[in-house]
Structure formats: C-alpha cells, structure tokens
Symmetry: C2
Subunit: 450 residues, 2 copies
C-alpha cells in the first residue's frame, strides 16, 4: 500500500486541498503547528480578517461540493463605495448588475473547510511543528507540544503552509531554488466598525468601502454580525504620513478626524484597537521550481501576493482546482508528471497575478478618486456593455471569469493602451458618451493582430 499524503498547513488552501485529495480516495493527513482553533471562541470572535471570494474561488469550492456551505456565510459586495475627505460617498460597480465579490471571515471559512475535510475522512494533526523535511525521501520531522518528536514518511508532501512555508525553507537548503521575497513600503493594521446600537450595519453592507488618500487608504468589508472589518494601509516610515508618525492616542484621533472623519464617527474603540492591534507587513514571494521529487508547494507557499486584487485566496483555490484536474487526467500514480505539469502550467499565471496585485494597489489608493479615472471606468463599462464578449475589463477578467491570469494580463495591457489613447483627448470629459465605440474596439483588434 502507498504511504499517506501529507499536507503541511491547515489553513484555507490546505483544508480545501485535503477535501479534493480525499475525494480521490487517498489517505490524507493535514499537519499544523497551531492547536485546533475551531474550539477557541477567542479567535473566531477576535481579530477577524476578511476575505473576498470571487469567481475562481467559487469554481474551486463548487467542484469540491462546498459552494452552498460557504455561501451561507458570505455577504455580496457589488462594487466599491468611495468615501472622500468630506464624507461624501459614491459607488463604482465592480461589474454588471449581478456580479459581486463575497465578503467572508477567514476564520469561519477555514472552520467550514476543516470541518468538511474531517468529515470526508482527512486526518487532522494539530500542534505538529515541522523541524525538517528531507525532500529526497518525502520525510517530515515534527516536534510535538509535549516535546516528543515524530517522523512521517509520505507518498507526497504538499506545502500549503503559507508565505513563510517550512517546506520551502527545507527546499531552499536542498536544491537550487530560485527565490524572491519583496516587502512593500506599506504595512496594515486592522480596525473595526461595530454594528449600530440598534443592531444594524453602520454603512451600506453590499459594498467594499474605500477611503483613498493617495499614499495611504482605509478599506472596510462587511461581516455577518453587522460589523465591518477595516484595514488601514499606510507606509511604515520615511513618509510625511506613516505608521511611525502616529505615536500616541491623540495622534490616532487627530489623524482619523483629519482624513477619515466619517469612519472615525463610527469607530468607538478606535484608539484601543489602534494601539493593541499589531502593524503587519506585506510581502510578495515568488519562487521556482515549486516541486522536487514528490514534494510540492501550493498557494501562498509558492506565490504569496499583496492583497490588493483580492486574489490571494482565490488563486490558491484555483491552484487546487487545476491540480485536481491534472490528477483526474493522469491519476495518482504519476505524481512527477502531475507536479511537473502543474508548475509549468501555473507559474506564468501566478506571476501575472503578482504583478496585477501590485498595480491594483496603486489604483486603489490613488486613482479611484481621480475624476478622469472615473470617466475611464465609465468608458470601459460602456465598451463592456456594447461588446460583452470582445471587451471585458481587466478587473472583470480577473474577478468574474477564469481566463488565465497571464492572458488577462496581456489582454489588459492592450486595452490599457487603447484607453490611454482615448483618454489623451483633452475634451474627453465632455464627449465620452458620444465616442465611436466601434472604432475603439477595432483598435483593440488591430493591436492584437500585431
């Protein structure tokens, strides 16, 4: 009989992967260094990071039979609601009427997936800290909570253990692994807008709220308990406005009153949250190869990205979907082939989403409040309305389709060049509704032919 399949990491990707592999009839074990947080009220009630599930994520959940179970815990967001410095807001739809991304608490989602994995028969092993992985033997050394150690030989080892993956660290010492880790200048801090006193949402729940302020921004996503989880993105240091300049509670209050006054009015625990919650870093990680022998990286362990396209989890779920498709095709007796195909097929796409996520950061914090950018978005929306199959805006390709990220990136570049040209007209604000939209589309087709 074959040795078991080991998955390192019981997070979102590890749990979903576990469900997929178990459904293929494999003996699947998930290991995590943390204790089983599902029993700990504090975690699910405390700091709740929110995720936004979009098309790729849903597709992967559906194939695993989990779509309905997850759906019950989500809130649809149909667009961005932009808040300016005077508290005036306006709405930018993400796509067409019914297109939305879905806010969900990371903890609740993880719990649903883990429960499901366990129900399917995946063995969960908490409090297993990886000491070493011998990649030539697919053998993992763990240390347990009681000081004991344990060695597990596996048929296959998956590193679904996140941006600071233990499997990747082990691979780095045992093979020629190309690796790049880049921190951005910005960090983030989580804050909260609670439900109102009469138990309602304090703002429109069906939108992702953004307070764009140039080099920094605040965002808020709705939770099912009627609260919003807010995230402040700002440079760590070396800027006029940065985390290191906010030194005490009075600085926090002044800063929020100045830049986010409408949000400030809804944040009773702001100063305490600000001082207690840590400021976290944002890192972009690329590496290659992802696989050696029967070990492979997946999700953030292979390609951690910044969160500005909302595709970190979605791309990891899509990894699982694609990998499962390869297992379907080649079986579970050709892991070498499956992994080789997986990394060759998938790497250009995760590289593309890495770049897109960085680009979208600039768009979110800066451009969304620019009137010319709004006109540009309207022109794009009109193009999409007129030619629903021939002009799909980049954001929609990434978020509402499963077009390969690398194709979306390439098509997006062509469309961007065409729109740059349209926008170069100084009177565009006056005449955008009466443009020759067919001629614009022709430009795209000419560019593609070249």
């Amino acid at each position: 009989m074959n040795q078991p399949i080991s998955i390192l990491g019981a997070g979102l990707i590890g749990s979903l992967l576990g469900v997929y592999l178990k459904k293929r009839g494999l003996d699947v074990h998930i290991y995590d260094k943390r204790s089983d947080w599902r029993s700990q009220q504090v975690l699910s009630e405390g700091r709740s990071i929110n995720m936004a599930i979009s098309y790729r994520g849903w597709k992967a959940l559906q194939k695993a039979g989990l779509k309905e179970k997850v759906e019950a815990h989500t809130i649809p967001m149909y667009g961005r609601r932009i808040h300016d410095e005077h508290g005036v807001t306006y709405f930018q739809p993400y796509g067409k009427n019914d297109e939305a991304i879905y806010s969900v608490s990371r903890n609740i989602l993880n719990q649903v997936l883990l429960d499901e994995a366990e129900k399917e028969g995946v063995q969960l092993h908490f409090e297993h800290k990886v000491d070493h992985v011998d990649v030539s033997k697919n053998s993992i050394d763990f240390s347990l909570k009681d000081g004991q150690t344990k060695t597990c030989k596996s048929e296959v080892v998956f590193g679904a253990d996140g941006a600071f993956s233990s499997l990747r660290t082990a691979m780095q010492k045992q093979m020629r692994l190309n690796f790049r880790q880049e921190y951005i200048s910005h960090g983030y801090k989580e804050l909260t807008i609670p439900a109102t006193e009469d138990g309602a949402f304090a703002m429109d729940p069906n939108a992702l709220h953004i307070w764009p302020r140039g080099n920094f921004m605040l965002i808020a996503l709705p939770n099912q308990d009627k609260s919003f989880t807010c995230t402040l993105f700002m440079p760590f240091e070396d800027e006029k406005i940065s985390f290191d300049k906010i030194r005490d509670e009075q600085d926090v209050v002044t800063f929020f009153q100045t830049y986010f006054n409408d949000a400030y009015q809804l944040m009773p625990s702001l100063t305490a949250d600000f001082c207690q919650n840590q400021t976290s870093a944002l890192v972009n990680i690329e590496c290659y190869p992802w696989t050696v022998n029967h070990c492979t990286l997946i999700g953030d362990a292979a390609h951690a990205i910044v969160p500005f396209y909302g595709q970190g989890m979605n791309s990891g779920f899509e990894d699982c979907f694609i990998l499962d498709g390869l297992i379907e095709k080649y079986g579970t007796f050709s892991w070498d082939l499956v992994f080789e195909k997986f990394q060759k097929m998938r790497k250009p796409d995760t590289d593309a989403i890495c770049k897109l996520a960085m680009d979208n950061f600039k768009e979110m914090r800066d451009k969304v409040s620019d009137p010319r950018f709004l006109i540009r978005k309207k022109i794009e929306a009109k193009l999409h309305e007129l030619f629903p199959y021939d002009w799909v805006p980049l954001y929609s390709m990434v978020t509402f389709t499963d077009i390969k990220y690398s194709d979306a990136y390439a098509i997006g570049k062509v469309q961007e060049a065409v729109l740059d040209k349209v926008m170069s007209d100084p009177f565009i604000a006056q005449k955008w509704e009466n443009l020759d939209y067919h001629a614009i589309l022709d430009n795209v087709e000419t560019s593609r032919a070249v």
Copy 2:
C-alpha cells in the same frame, strides 16, 4: 568600555575587514564554524580554487598594508588565451601592456590575510557555529564543537559569512528584508592540469586560458607550483550537452577528446578528478537593507555574484575599503550613520556588478570566439589607445580602475550602443583600421549629453 566587534566568517572578506578594524584600534573577534584550516596541509594542497585579483582588490589590500605580502603569491595574467576546437590558440590582451589580473590560490590568500589579522591582534575563534543572532541586541549564540553553547554581546556584528550568511538568515526572520536568490542553469566542476614531467608549466602561465564552446566552457588559471586549476562551466541538465549527460568515465573521455582535446592531453588525472570533484551551483544573491541596528552584511553575504567578471572577491575587498573610509570620516561612535551611508552608497554599485557578471558569462562562453567580436575588441582597443581618457573599455573600467561599478555600467551601455552602430556596417571587417575614430568618439559624447 565598548563591547567587542564581532565578524562572522574568517574567509577572505572577514579576514581583511578584521585587519582594517583592528588598525582602527577596535577589539575585533572573528568567528568561523570551520576548524583552523591553516594547519591542515590537505586543504591547501587539495582542491585549490583560484581567484584573480584586479585593481579594486589591490587598492584595498594596499590600504591595509598587505599588497607586497600578497603579491609574492600571485601570477600575472595579461590577457585571455583562447583555445579553439582544433587546439589553435590566440591571445586577447585584457588591457594595455602592463595591465594584468593576478592569479592566486584562495587558500594561500586566505592564510596570508588570517595570519596578518592574528598578528595585528584580531582574536580568531574557530569551530563556532552560529545558532542565532538577535539583531536587536547584537547578540550571537554559538554552538561549539564540544556541544557547549556561548552567547556573545557585541558593539557591532558583521556578516562576512558568504552567500549563505547566518546573519542574513537571522535578519530575514526579524525584519522586512527584501531578498532574491537566483541560480543559473550552469554549474561548475574543478579539474587540474599538473606541471609537466620536467617541472614546467604545460601552457603559457601569463594568461587566463579559455576554451569557449557556446553553451559551455573550460577555463584554466596558473598556480605557483606550475599547475593550472581548470574549471568546467556547463548546464546541469536539460541541454544536449550538460553535466547529467556525462554518466561514466568513458563519457568524460569522449567529451574532452571531442571539445577540449588539447587540454585533455595535459590532464592525466581527468577521469578521477571528474568523478571525485563535486559539481557546484552558481547563485546570484541580492538583498536590502544590508544593515539593521548595529548588524551589517558585507561581501558575498550582501551580494553574491556569479564569477564571470572575476569581481566577487574584488568587490568584497572594495566593500572593506569603502567602509573603512566611512569609519575614517565618521569615527567608530556613529555606527548607524556609517552603515546607513555604506549601504546607500554601495548598493547601486553591487547591483551593477551583479548584472555585469551575468553579461560577461555570455561574452566568455560564446562571443569571444566570434570573429566579429574580435574586430569589435580591436576597434575598442584602438579607441582606447587614441583616447586613453575618453574611451576606456568596460572591461578595463571594471578591472583596472576604481570607477564606481554603476558608472562603469552606464558608460559601458553608451559605448556599447556606439559600437553596435559601427559594427552594423557589413564591410566592417575590411575597413575597421581606417574608420574615422574621432567621429566615433563624438558619438559617445553626443549620447552622454542626451
């Protein structure tokens, strides 16, 4: 009194840095995980990697008062001697008549530097393996050979511990360190051409010998014992000719007879050397920042480069020279300032030499045997002869001057564009001696002005 200065790594850079710092009156300790190899005959007589000292290296050695001591152990190489597939050789001078790079054994050079550091009063601690560096406290935990552990608090910690630096690994866990590690497809294996039976050099000793063969190449550097150290650079795998295709002794013989027959005739221990000596990888490492608190990376630990410009050690020695200049200027009570200036000033230059080293790989393995490349080199040599201050070939700027690497890179790009234009003339082979060389130089000046 201040705490001691700790240098991790007793290699070339660590030893030279130790001499510099000791001369500044500091209490300097060098730690290395290896045992003291100076007493071990086997190492200095065995596999001997060769280095080529060029202008920047000599300048740094001279300031430390070590130039004469080192000079005695070197052999000047005035140019490349190219070997074609029929054993025909020709000579390409590196620079003007007296310009040379100097071959020296890494072990002998290291020994000279370490002896000198010890003589100056630097304390050497061998068999000290770094377990952890707490960068916020400049505190290092070592484990010793007998299983004991030891903690050293330091005023300053230098990581001169090479491409796989322990200090850098510690920094990576404790700060937002941007980091990139890229392996090239080629590996290398060291071989040897011994002295002839009557105790002479088997080839011209005053040249760096190259057998360029497109995607792979052999080089040889002279040793004072009349032998040559040879290095074969070749892809690891996935190519028609690569290390993985050479499977047994017969393959080795066939391969050498086919591509390097003149060298093969001089290599009696070839098959044994080939099978015993490991195939090593080549990695390019960039990171930033280099410094946090009172800890700083230097040499390969900060910027490991591929060996194809012969600047790995030279750039590390230049790091020491520049750092010492900053200490001279700002004193030993402003380490923060010294380190901040050091990394800001030096990073663009080490980035430039990284790129140049990769580019030179292509030149060495490929272009040096191209007749058009030879004409190009002759045109450059003539330009340099006519305008010794206004046209200095890139190789000469890097090797025979201390022009900042980043400036050399930028000037090199301008000169390259001018020469590309000159070379685009299909009849250049016939008329290169009668070109209007003043007009060519004018092109450079126009480009720079733009």
